[in-house]
Subunit: 323 residues, 2 copies
Amino acid sequence: MGGGGEIRRVCVVGAGAIGSLFAGHLGCIVETSVLTRREEHARALVREGLRVSGKSELHARLAASTDPAELPEPDLIIIATKTLDVEASAQRLHGHFPGAMVLTVQNGLGCEEVVHRQGDWPILSGVTFMSGTRHGDTHVEYELDTPTWLGPWAGGSASYEDAAGVAELINRSGLKAEAYPDLLPHQWSKLIFNSAVNSIAAVTDLPHVKAFARRESLSDLGHLVYAMMEEARAIAAARGVELADDPWEMNVRAVGQGSTGGDQYAHVPSMLDDVRHRRRTEIDWITGAIVREAMKAGLPAPYHETLYRLVKAKEEGWELGGG
Amino acid sequence: MGGGGEIRRVCVVGAGAIGSLFAGHLGCIVETSVLTRREEHARALVREGLRVSGKSELHARLAASTDPAELPEPDLIIIATKTLDVEASAQRLHGHFPGAMVLTVQNGLGCEEVVHRQGDWPILSGVTFMSGTRHGDTHVEYELDTPTWLGPWAGGSASYEDAAGVAELINRSGLKAEAYPDLLPHQWSKLIFNSAVNSIAAVTDLPHVKAFARRESLSDLGHLVYAMMEEARAIAAARGVELADDPWEMNVRAVGQGSTGGDQYAHVPSMLDDVRHRRRTEIDWITGAIVREAMKAGLPAPYHETLYRLVKAKEEGWELGGG
């Protein structure tokens, strides 16, 4: 592969908020298609296009289908589903688009490997910090215009130049992206932040509020957030990864946003949203991934094991019909 | 003090399920009064007496008031409120009944000390395993006829003979009691069991089901229950307490009850019931007590600290109006 100039066709897999943001922006500068799960979603996108409001005001014309065979051969596939759907998405892509490069933008660790098992595509790892809200199948609001970080996945054949080309394309479309030769320090920083904030929010039913950064009295929640992050930092170090950003500082910055007092900033982390709607969470790819990395490193992980098991037990309770 | 034969008058403080079971049974063999929180509760008890159904079928005539000055001078005070109300109850007793002995039957650790600060009564520590359901102010159903364990509190002047006398009285009334020279091994066994089962149920919204004893795959909850119990066992040992019963075995026995498969046995621990009704929990006296004991012993307690902070954070969420 080479630079971003060669990417003339993109296929976005999954049109939730993140997938829609990619498709809506990229669709204005290159030929873009969307592989959807639902037939009526594909039909609506073909009929109406995709509108982006908020931080961008755009309207993109797109190809869309539930069948990859009906879509034009892309140079780049962006898999933007939730982690839980990556395996099914990759299976649908099996045997298709052999000339394309794949970018994964899921939370957690391990999605690249799942994609790799279904095809010999060069793979870029991505971590996105942007956010939006779907207002329907053909309208997404662009909210947080924070960047997507990407880099070549170490287990595959993509190069830094591939990552830089894709980052250039994403930036040109009006979104933000940064390419790194080694994404792991960035991926782990976000992973560690997400693992603590999401799992704790999921079991306490508490949005990401100031309590997550408070470490005064014995019972304060910030002690737990800090301890989880330190535990994960040691695991990252043992796996050869030095963090790009300090997860504790990310936590303190986030809960300090837009609030001079009280808890007006009260972001509902995705895992808490999943729990509130009794949807299966991404815990296996986030906190569970850190537990597995600790085992590989031969390190103890009492905090991560605890939160991992608590969230899994909570999910099990729904299956029992409890609660 | 001497044997149980000298106890002619009992005052029960708090008439929830446990207090009502004591008052209903003891009221049939000795002069018994109830110190209630609500006026109408006292009036109903005086007017209608207290009915016990289920494992016992009894009807007791009782004195009752919200003011200790209106009650006859007792030889024995049984404080049967929840831990959260012990301090207020003891303050109401301050200056009254100087000739009485006090029996506390709360969960957790530390209630005896709270009572001791309000008066120079000899104090017996109690741990009760019986359970019942209040069907109103004047009717309680006796369900689990398991015993109450009691012994002299080490910080006060009660003797083993005092405990034996009270146990004899309780047994004569139709309830079950066992006296021990040193209650701590029994108190800690129940404390450790309660700390793990209650706090985990409270954050997972999972009743006490078989999952609490399962230790097969990495995510199984039994690993966490076991780790918490082992952590607490080490803290007990460092505090000079050898457990009377193995909390893990108590857990395995409890979830194995009355079920050959599935999860028909699904006891809702009191802390989960509190959480479901958004009532403040007893976490400070149970899991929090173990965290404080660990600090005194200079031992780490990552599992107990974690569950302690998670339940406290959950309570804080209600105050924020979240969830």
